[in-house]
Symmetry: C2
């Protein structure tokens, strides 16, 4: 059938297996065209294409409920559930998000983007069904890489107790974003090597029935396997061996590059060479630090590429580059253990994913005063702009944990100086927030002791002070320039850190008319409100500006900043 005739999964269910195979080829072609032109999660979607068809063919969706982990592998799911035009028509490519989204379709049960949550969420759906006497199937789809997240284990472990219909499809493409790490993966290898017959079986040890599908890109095998478990009255794992990037040679041969890619040349698989970013700057600087100091260890939790550690740089890092798999709790607590053991651990992590480890930062690091270093990426408005990946909340989440010093560099030079200082010192845990947006260089004395440093006075004026943290120092400087045009000479301050206040400098502003704080994070729980509280008993007017307390999805950064009053003109306009 013509793929444009598919308006819902019901349209699949009358087809023969042969027709499904033709359909798969047609879908793959359309999908590849969009991926090459638009970018996206290439390998995960190509690899799970046949399984997605088989899922909707066998199960009575949306009555049967399917929860996709991370949901970055749901492009074909979207194609089959009424959203084909977002893949066939370039003018509509952006009609759909890159993840499941209940606002788009009743086939999308949750808005997801972090790993390892599908099984816990689905366990709630299954329990609700059991309590209400329902009979629908509940299916959780999870990739092998996501199994290393503790939440996936917690879900598997608990859901075995349901002792009712609960189907977990493990999409084993032998890859996380990069290579897998953890003892579990040897067991998956053993299971694949024994065609699923090995008696030592992680899933069975947790109480699951178990089915192995050796050819996970073969629709017939998948349909047979799914039909076998449909209506199961017991928790069961269907372990599906798939090929990440299936059907597109460049993606099959370079799985890491094609996990997620911007637009690429379909014929060759090549992409425009990337310009140097803060990920490269971080990785090269860390490799230098590792050369100079045997104690330096760099950690990632399954996202080495996001912190600049390409395969070549990982090799240069050797034994002192540690990938714990997607397991942020482990990374944070292991960093504490490494520090206790005399090493200088540096955990590089996307701001949004560090949210997984609030308690570990508090308990294992802060209470224990272990001088581990955490370097966050994609913090602020110029980070990732999916609702599930926002970098708005790192400052509110971390900066109120006692004893952690949260540093916000304002430029490349300060970033490197803060990294050097954080690694050299052993007094306290330190977070360094990697700048986002274009790379900025400015002069300044950055080789200071950040444990005791006062705020940096970047421009000295009077009556009005603008305190611009991290990425927003430039905004402060730009607003100051506009104010000067109006005859006001503001003091411009780089606070350097947002986890405590420089009360001496701030008390010096009590005679001012106006203090304006600018921060590239959710304004609620940010440093500006602390400044307002400190100066609350003085007559100075305090204006706190920052990002909204909200989960905007796929926002336009320029518009969001304008709406929040975070433009030079709007800031300058606060002073009459």
């Amino acid at each position: 059938m013509n793929i444009n005739d598919i308006t819902s999964p019901a349209d699949l269910r009358g087809l023969t297996l042969g027709e499904l195979q033709v359909l798969a080829a047609d879908l793959r072609k359309v999908l590849l065209d969009k991926l090459a032109a638009h970018g996206g999660h290439v390998g995960p979607n190509l690899g799970f294409l046949e399984a997605t068809i088989a899922l909707h063919y066998v199960f009575d969706t949306p009555r049967d409920k399917v929860v996709f982990d991370v949901s970055h592998q749901t492009y074909v799911h979207k194609m089959l559930t009424g959203r084909m035009r977002a893949f066939t028509d370039p003018a509509h490519y952006d009609d759909v998000t890159g993840f499941t989204n209940p606002d788009e379709s009743p086939y999308d049960l949750f808005a997801l983007g972090h790993t390892s949550t599908a099984i816990p969420l689905a366990s709630g759906l299954a329990k609700a069904r059991d309590l209400q006497g329902g009979t629908e199937n509940v299916v959780a789809v999870i990739g092998d890489g996501s199994l290393s997240g503790g939440q996936a284990f917690e879900g598997l472990d608990y859901a075995a107790e349901l002792k009712s219909n609960f189907i977990v499809i493990v999409n084993d493409n032998q890859m996380s974003i990069a290579e897998n790490h953890g003892g579990l993966y040897d067991n998956l290898t053993l299971l694949r090597d024994t065609n699923g017959t090995a008696s030592c079986n992680y899933f069975r040890s947790l109480g699951y029935d178990y089915v192995y599908v050796p050819y996970g890109n073969d629709i017939e095998a998948l349909v047979r396997a799914f039909e076998g478990v449909k209506g199961s009255t017991r928790p069961v794992v269907v372990h599906v061996n798939t090929m990440k990037g299936e059907g597109y040679a460049p993606a099959e041969s370079d799985k890491e590059t094609f996990h997620f890619s911007g637009p690429f040349d379909l014929a060759t698989g090549s992409s425009p060479a990337a310009t140097e970013g803060y990920d490269d700057i971080f990785a090269e600087h860390m490799l230098d630090a590792m050369s100079g100091d045997d104690r330096v260890v760099v950690l990632t939790a399954g996202t080495p590429g996001a912190i600049g550690f390409t395969p070549g740089r990982r090799e240069r890092g050797g034994r002192r580059f540690v990938d714990v798999g997607i397991a942020e709790q482990q990374a944070v607590s292991m960093a504490s253990g490494l520090a206790k053991g005399g090493m200088r651990p540096v955990f590089g992590v996307c701001s949004t994913f560090l949210q997984r480890a609030y308690d570990q930062l508090s308990q294992d690091v802060a209470i224990n005063r272990q001088p581990a270093v955490f370097v966050t990426f994609y913090g602020g408005v110029r980070g990732m702009n999916d609702a599930t990946h926002l970098g708005f909340f790192d400052v509110p989440m971390i900066s109120d944990i006692p004893g952690i010093l949260f540093l916000e560099p304002t430029c490349r030079g300060e970033y490197l100086a803060m990294l050097d200082w954080a690694v050299a010192q052993t007094g306290c845990p330190v977070v360094v927030r990697t700048p986002a947006g274009r790379i900025i260089d400015r002069d300044g004395d950055f080789a200071v002791d950040y444990a005791t440093a006062p705020y940096e006075i970047v421009e000295r004026g009077d009556k009005v002070a603008i305190i611009g943290a991290g990425n927003f120092l430039q905004l402060a400087l730009d607003a100051a320039a506009l104010m000067r045009d109006k005859g006001v000479t503001p003091t411009v301050i780089n606070p350097r850190y947002v986890s405590r206040l420089d009360t001496a400098t701030l008390d010096g502003l009590r005679g001012y008319d106006t203090v304006i704080t600018l921060e590239d994070n959710s304004i609620d729980g940010g440093f500006g409100q602390k400044v307002a509280a400190l100066l609350g008993d003085s007559p100075v007017k305090v204006h706190c500006l920052g990002l909204p307390k909200a989960f905007p999805d796929r926002y336009d950064a320029r518009q969001l900043l304008a709406d929040a009053g975070l433009t030079p003109a709007a800031v300058a306009g606060l002073v009459k």
Copy 2:
């Protein structure tokens, strides 16, 4: 030998096995005397007594490193490592904390109190050793109950990759705090039933060598097992089958009651009857709600007793009382799934343990706008006072997550009204913070729509406003009384919620001289700073008072409040 002659584990190492057995009996007697007089973790320490002796006998502590999970089972460890007097001399009972503490002893590697962290922390020590060419043993001790925490899995999974000396001792006493939950526990049962020989083995599936010790309270068996793994060059799990409460019949027969107990009568095991607390009020109210509405489901993550769900009440809750095991991430995300499935989930949880699920609250609940209800316990200064169990941080952590309504009741009637409202509504996720301290009853109109309710004006005055959140409304009223004695008539406000501001009411205070905010949580990131920011451009003076941003250990609440200016006199003194 006389136990008072033991100043370090070295004193054990010349003893015969027979002498160790005598020592064990002597230690148990002393330990029981202290437990009965002082209270503490009874069952865990009695059950791990022999294993603790064997550990220090076999391993060369402190050169060999032992990390105890939760570390509530380390009383005997403390007795053997230079702290005997804190167990033999009632005047010195409080010289030691209830957990390991590096400030007490070099044998204590970390300050711990939350579950499932020992393996990740120890993995850092082991990696540091390997990188430095060290040869010491690294041992992590973890109870079966803690294995359900995702962080324990993450640690086990990753540490298998070390492929070097890494010894995990699983203290399997067939209990969590209450009974265990999860499919994993069937595997532990299978392993015990087969004397460790079952081929489907959770630990082996993750890459560990495996040793089973069927008599985990037999010193000789333990010594033999530990000697067998000492110096291992591979990760290995020693699965030790122990008796929780070993050697004290009341603790053996009622393991849940004796997990942690206040002082008790040694002869009978009986304790003074507890007076009704908020845990009872919550549990009975929820059971009523469950009777009236089939959709209500109450969840716990392994701490049913802390939320009033005694065994009898759990039975009354039936299938709609869910214990997911110690797995807060699972509980939060499952609650989201239950809400999506049409149920009304209520997750009761200690404030300090909800820290494990920041990301799940943000991603799986808030972004998905699922109206799950979270009821926290032991929040504020009157909660638990160990540094690892503070209830100071729930407000800063949760109240800045977009879309979650955080309610703080000020008395019993408002608490019940908020619970009723939270369960009945389906508009948003809600946190209700259970009051702490003595039970307070006051009149008020609590049957309001908390989604739109303004602040409650409890006493109307002028010029001065005191906003007292939750537990601190009483402090506000007491301070107001003192002010009235001085001729000032303050307005006293109950804000009801701390996750957003009632800007209309607050704007009405712009003509006031002074606004004072009082909150029973870390002042940084609290609601007071938001009030200060809102009023930052007005001349009104704002004073924000709350608990310190710190991890005080075993603090005296009265002293801590005085130091923070949180007394009626100090608050009243802010107004001259």
